[in-house]
């Protein structure tokens, strides 16, 4: 038990950099950097307030048809699904790709102990991401219904156990995936394809179930009658998509009855049992996927001078940097999933959620068809947001990690650094833009001109976003990571980037909305282009001096 506690403590310390934060305070060096964190959080507050306001009226809508409990189900479903999807990435990198595994495996500890400690750390990370979603639902419901003490007690239990089952499922899925793809040679490629396919399947599956159950209840003859009679009807019908969320919602909605008690027991006990089962299974699964994962196979053909000759070509520094960046992104599974995975999956999810709601598609599609300019503007805005979401710019220096000395000791001009890293981000953006355009095509058939406009303006919008991200990253690069996941997913710069990026895109959006009916569209596009170019130049200049300064100062 002592071993386990020590493992958990150390892993939490490493993951969240506790010792280094304290060291930073003592050295009085990083205090201003720590102050940036609350500032970044403040920048996210406006959109968060907007979201909570929306939820507030959302509750009323369900309350009117007597189905308040469905409101809770949505809270549970949204946060638990998020835990599950983030969990897949966290689990993959934490269980299989973190640097400390090389030290942990030879120690006299059980696989299950290593796994438990890592599971706990991921749980903590997941609380940080899921609570901002779950808590508004639970609190709004409690306030609106004037719920008693027992409700709040159930809510706390609901929150504590919330990540367990989704994380157990993602742990098992990844462990099985890693065990059976542990084949020499094409390991990485195989896993990326499998993980991508699995995620798309999971999204599709969720949407399909919802769609089927939606149809089933709407088509029932006594729908209105049943709705009025059973306050939990929607939860029961739609909760089958993910039963733990249903148990959670039912327990909170019926906290004052026996139904609530049985559901909270079901919810907590199943969470605990599933965790224990997963840990038992890990003894059989974990090391099989891990051992051999660390070893890397070298090529067998020894006489390769002919091929080498071809590769030895002089390249301009910024192109060489861009090529190196793209190679590193594509060859590190975690980077690939976060950057390329992000720009591919987000448009697909959006398109799927529109396409699966077939009945409601027609009016949307027709409305958009008459407003192709609106589609173009939304498309450009989305590509711009993807430019921050792909995390390529905002983690470009952080990803260098312990290799950063190479960049700092080589004679590289600041403009080459910027240009190379920008090109790498644009490369990823082209992929995202193409997927987005194909996704839009499922909703509305665009003409060639609109496609070209979306591509051009979208890529142009990606430039200031990437540069803005790079500015954030060079100010506070996260270089002391032990696991590439920390450089990209657990990097606070990403969150700061999202906040500032949302403000940038939001400002542009309101500006365009203001001009939309008053000014000719051609002029609006010109103004947009002008703003994007000017802000790019501005960010480029700021970045130039920052890079020169920070490359000297960093220690």
């Amino acid at each position: 038990m002592n071993k386990l506690i020590s493992l958990i403590r150390t892993d939490l310390n490493i993951t969240f950099g506790l010792s280094s934060i304290i060291h930073g305070f003592k050295a009085k060096k990083k205090i201003w950097q720590l102050l940036i964190i609350p500032l970044a959080l403040l920048s996210l507050i406006p959109s968060y307030v907007l979201l909570i306001r929306g939820l507030w009226s959302f509750y009323d809508a369900f309350s009117q048809i007597g189905q308040q409990s469905y409101f809770l189900l949505m809270g549970f479903l949204a946060s638990q699904l998020m835990v599950f999807f983030f969990g897949l990435m966290y689990v993959m990198s934490k269980y299989y790709f973190s640097n400390d595994l090389n030290h942990l495996v030879p120690l006299p500890i059980k696989p299950s102990q290593i796994l438990t400690s890592k599971f706990v750390t991921i749980m903590v990370s997941e609380y940080l991401t899921s609570m901002p979603i779950f808590l508004p639902f639970a609190i709004i419901f409690g306030l609106k219904t004037n719920a008693g003490l027992l409700y709040w007690l159930y809510a706390v239990l609901g929150a504590i156990f919330l990540p367990v089952i989704p994380l157990v499922i993602s742990s098992l899925a990844i462990m099985i995936l890693m065990k059976y793809t542990n084949i020499k040679g094409k390991r990485d490629q195989l896993r990326i394809i499998a993980a991508g396919g699995f995620m798309i399947f999971a999204i599709w599956f969720q949407l399909k179930i919802q769609q089927i159950s939606q149809k089933a209840i709407l088509e029932g003859e006594n729908f209105m009658f049943n709705l009025a009679r059973d306050a939990n009807l929607l939860v029961r019908s739609l909760g089958v998509a993910f039963p733990p969320s249903m148990w959670g919602a039912l327990s909170l909605a019926n906290y004052d009855s026996f139904l609530g008690l049985t559901n909270i027991l079901l919810y907590s006990v199943v969470s605990i049992i599933s965790f224990v089962l997963m840990i038992i299974a890990s003894e059989k699964l974990f090391f099989d996927g891990l051992i051999g994962n660390i070893e890397v196979s070298a090529s067998k053909h020894r006489n390769i001078n002919k091929n080498l000759d071809k590769t030895m070509v002089a390249t301009r520094p910024y192109l060489a940097i861009a090529r190196k960046e793209v190679k590193m992104l594509f060859k590190t599974p975690i980077y690939l999933m976060n950057s390329v995975g992000g720009v591919i999956i987000v448009p697909i999810i959006l398109a799927m959620s529109l396409v699966t709601g077939e009945a409601s598609m027609e009016p949307i599609s027709q409305f958009l068809y008459g407003n192709t300019d609106l589609v173009v503007i939304i498309g450009v805005g989305m590509i711009g947001i993807l430019g921050m979401l792909n995390s390529v710019g905002v983690t470009t220096f952080s990803r260098e990690g312990s290799n950063f000395w190479i960049m700092r000791t080589l004679p590289i001009k600041a403009e080459d650094q910027i240009l190379g890293r920008l090109l790498a981000s644009l490369f990823i953006q082209v992929i995202g833009a193409l997927v987005l355009i194909v996704s839009i095509f499922f909703v509305i058939k665009l003409n060639i001109l609109s496609i070209i406009l979306i591509l051009l303006l979208g890529l142009l919008a990606s430039i200031p976003m990437t540069l803005l991200g790079m500015i954030i990253d060079i100010i506070r690069p996260m270089l002391t990571w032990t696991n590439p996941q920390q450089a990209m997913k657990q990097n606070f710069n990403v969150l700061i980037g999202m906040g500032l990026g949302t403000i940038y895109v939001g400002t542009l959006f309101f500006l365009i909305k203001f001009m939309f009916d008053k000014v000719d569209m051609f002029i609006i596009y010109l103004i947009l282009m002008g703003i994007l170019i000017i802000s790019s130049i501005l960010f480029f200049k700021v970045l130039m001096s920052l890079i020169e300064k920070r490359f000297r100062e960093l220690e």
Partner: protein, 242 residues
């Protein structure tokens, strides 16, 4: 010629002085050995020369170029080999070498000649097509050495270069250092292997607690010490007094 003038570096707001008012002149065509116990300030000094740590005070000038004022120019004539070869392990060996050559602006023909020459010398030519994460520590070290020799540096600066090298590569590295010196370049390296320093270096400095406690040729160092035998005795005697 490399001139370090009154350089100091402290950590934790001045509470720990890693390098304390250090003065050194290293001539062109000279192999200079930098010795000292763990934590004496060797790596800190080297990092200040190559641009990784900004000195609190003092200046570092290489062949008339101020390393910190005109850093780009200085970096183009310095090659650095760190004590721990942490490099982009997801790249192939050849990709890494090409990348470094691109940064130094080495022409196609020159890089071909040098890559073949040094990779053959260090016996890594057959693995250049493999991903770096499959390399052993010593192979990575040899790859970094090869990359550092692509740009024909004026100053070749190495932190503990012999660690992890097999005897043959170690011998070859010493030959390369000698050859560079004959061409009028400067070689500066830190080491714990006193034998190497004794046999290879034209001059030696011993640093302890951030200060140079002795420097000069082997002969001059012998005069400092009571027991005028080996460098080992001199080193132990000098560093123990402090």
């Amino acid at each position: 010629m490399l001139t370090l003038k009154n350089i100091s570096k402290s950590y934790n707001k001045g509470s720990i002085k890693a390098v304390d008012n250090l003065d050194l002149v290293i001539n062109s065509g000279e192999i200079f050995g930098f010795l000292g116990p763990n934590g004496a300030g060797k790596t800190t000094t080297i990092k200040m020369i190559v641009g990784l740590l900004k000195p609190d005070e003092g200046s570092i000038v290489l062949d008339g170029v101020d390393v910190w004022r005109d850093s780009l120019k200085a970096k183009s004539i310095i090659s650095y080999v760190p004590d721990n070869p942490e490099i982009y392990d997801r790249l192939k060996g050849i990709e890494y070498l090409n990348f470094i050559a691109d940064m130094y602006g080495v022409s196609k023909e020159e890089r071909k000649t040098k890559i073949y020459y040094y990779s053959k010398l260090f016996n890594i030519e057959d693995v250049l097509g493999d991903i770096i994460s499959s390399y052993s520590h010593g192979m990575k070290q040899k790859l970094v050495l090869t990359s550092a020799l692509l740009n024909n540096p004026s100053l070749f600066i190495l932190d503990e270069p012999m660690v992890g090298l097999d005897p043959k590569s170690s011998f070859n590295l010493k030959e390369i250092m000698r050859k560079l010196c004959d061409e009028g370049k400067t070689v500066f390296f830190s080491t714990h292997v006193l034998e190497v320093a004794e046999k290879l270096c034209d001059r030696i400095a011993i640093i302890n607690k951030g200060k140079i406690i002795a420097h000069g040729t082997m002969e001059e160092l012998r005069e400092h010490a009571k027991e005028r035998t080996s460098l080992e005795n001199i080193f132990l005697e000098l560093t123990e007094d402090e």
